[in-house]
Symmetry: C2
Subunit: 251 residues, 2 copies
């Protein structure tokens, strides 16, 4: 079956968590909004499911995935579905729930990252909420990121299978999402992440390992992988990052 | 099986979404942190699962539910589990995913409500982020609540079973959560909700219907139901609510 992924065409955003799972699964899929309007796709096709009055189960927002007759919304829900279909999650109930729990915690972290540059309103420009963003980003860097990354580092450390993955013996969609979050944080907060990377060696090893998976490596090198930018969840505003360490004065 | 629910003892918070499902299911459960420390429960028992180094699958935060050997975290994940066990969700894959999708959208709304009084940092007092909160709450009232409530009103309207419930023919955990959200919004934003309630008659009918379910009605009248307060997700700060309509001057 050929999946149809619906997400904004010019950003990684939350769609990227789904793309990574589809790529690692080797699934056939169309990134609908990135195709041409002339072919009946493009952003118009994306908006149709959101706005057409005849859609019985409309998603609240992208991303959503069309899989045959199913139209599935909410990133973590899509991954729950794909994980079961493509061996990207354990089969047993305990493992399935645990992987989903980790994904939902990753989703909470992703939301907090977005809030750090848009603490007042998503619809306003960053420039209109800059002051609040500075305070929120400082809290994110010094309190929330250490808490979240410390948590996931412990999860890797305590995995009884010592697989180097977050959940169970083999790769799951949560590992792919964790990879994306760390890549995003490195883009958005390059200075803050210097210390945070050093302090979380298992997460860094996971990132390197995921980047080297043949299908993921091929995807990252392809045109299908969009670049991080100032329109996505992970944005680099230097004033929101940790201050650059001052070079020592020569004596 | 007797469940053990772990959540902060003095607030409804996210634990309330789980409590409502357990109550409607008629499930036997202990609200662990509200029991005495002397009995080995209380907040110490809650903290144990979060902080003990020997816990292999620690939750990131409450609520979490112990069900035999399973310890399940993340509100929506707990409801996914309970929904399948207690007929609070459709059995077929499409219905199960759709109900979970709605729950995750409710979770997004709940987060935005919390952010409205804590836009800078959860760990800071409201008073230390009051100015940002005013701006964010205004956006919530005028943009986000109409968008979310309009969405859920449409879902009720378009349900092909015309059951008056959000998903399928019968009550699901998403309906119980929607009830809690509307009750919370009425507490937090009594003035703003006057207009919003009138504009969303199906949601109001759902709220009234859920409140009248025998098990829910008994729960709401019991001491097990905590009150809304200024420590939870839904807080009433008059300056964050819509301005009270001015009484007309007499001529």
């Amino acid at each position: 079956m050929r999946y149809e992924l619906f997400y904004w065409p010019s950003i990684q955003g939350r769609g990227e968590f789904v793309r990574l799972a589809l790529e690692q699964a080797g699934a056939e899929y169309i990134d609908v909004a990135r195709r041409s309007e002339a072919s009946g796709m493009g952003v118009s096709a994306l908006m149709r499911w959101l706005e057409d009055d005849t859609v019985v189960c409309p998603p609240f927002a992208p991303p959503y995935l069309k899989a045959g007759k199913l139209v599935i919304g909410q990133t973590a829900n899509i991954l729950l579905f794909l994980g079961a279909r493509h061996r990207l999650a354990p089969k047993d109930e305990a493992g399935r729930l645990w992987t989903h729990q980790l994904q939902l915690t990753i989703a909470d972290l992703v939301s907090e990252v977005h809030e750090s540059h848009h603490p007042i309103a998503s619809r306003l420009y960053y420039e209109d909420q800059r002051q609040a963003a500075r305070r929120r980003a400082a809290d994110l860097r010094t309190q929330r990121l250490p808490k979240y990354l410390g948590y996931f580092e412990r999860i890797l450390e305590r995995n009884p299978h010592a697989s180097g993955y977050l959940s169970g013996k083999t790769l799951t969609y949560a590992d792919l999402s964790m990879f994306q979050v760390i890549m995003g944080l490195r883009y958005a907060f390059p200075h803050a992440m210097i210390g945070l990377t050093a302090g979380h060696p298992r997460l860094e090893a996971l990132r390197v390992r995921i980047a080297a998976l043949p299908r993921i490596a091929a995807y990252l090198a392809s045109k299908r992988r969009l670049r991080f930018s100032q329109q996505g969840i992970f944005r680099h505003y230097p004033e929101l990052d940790a201050p650059r360490a001052k070079p020592r004065a020569r004596r």
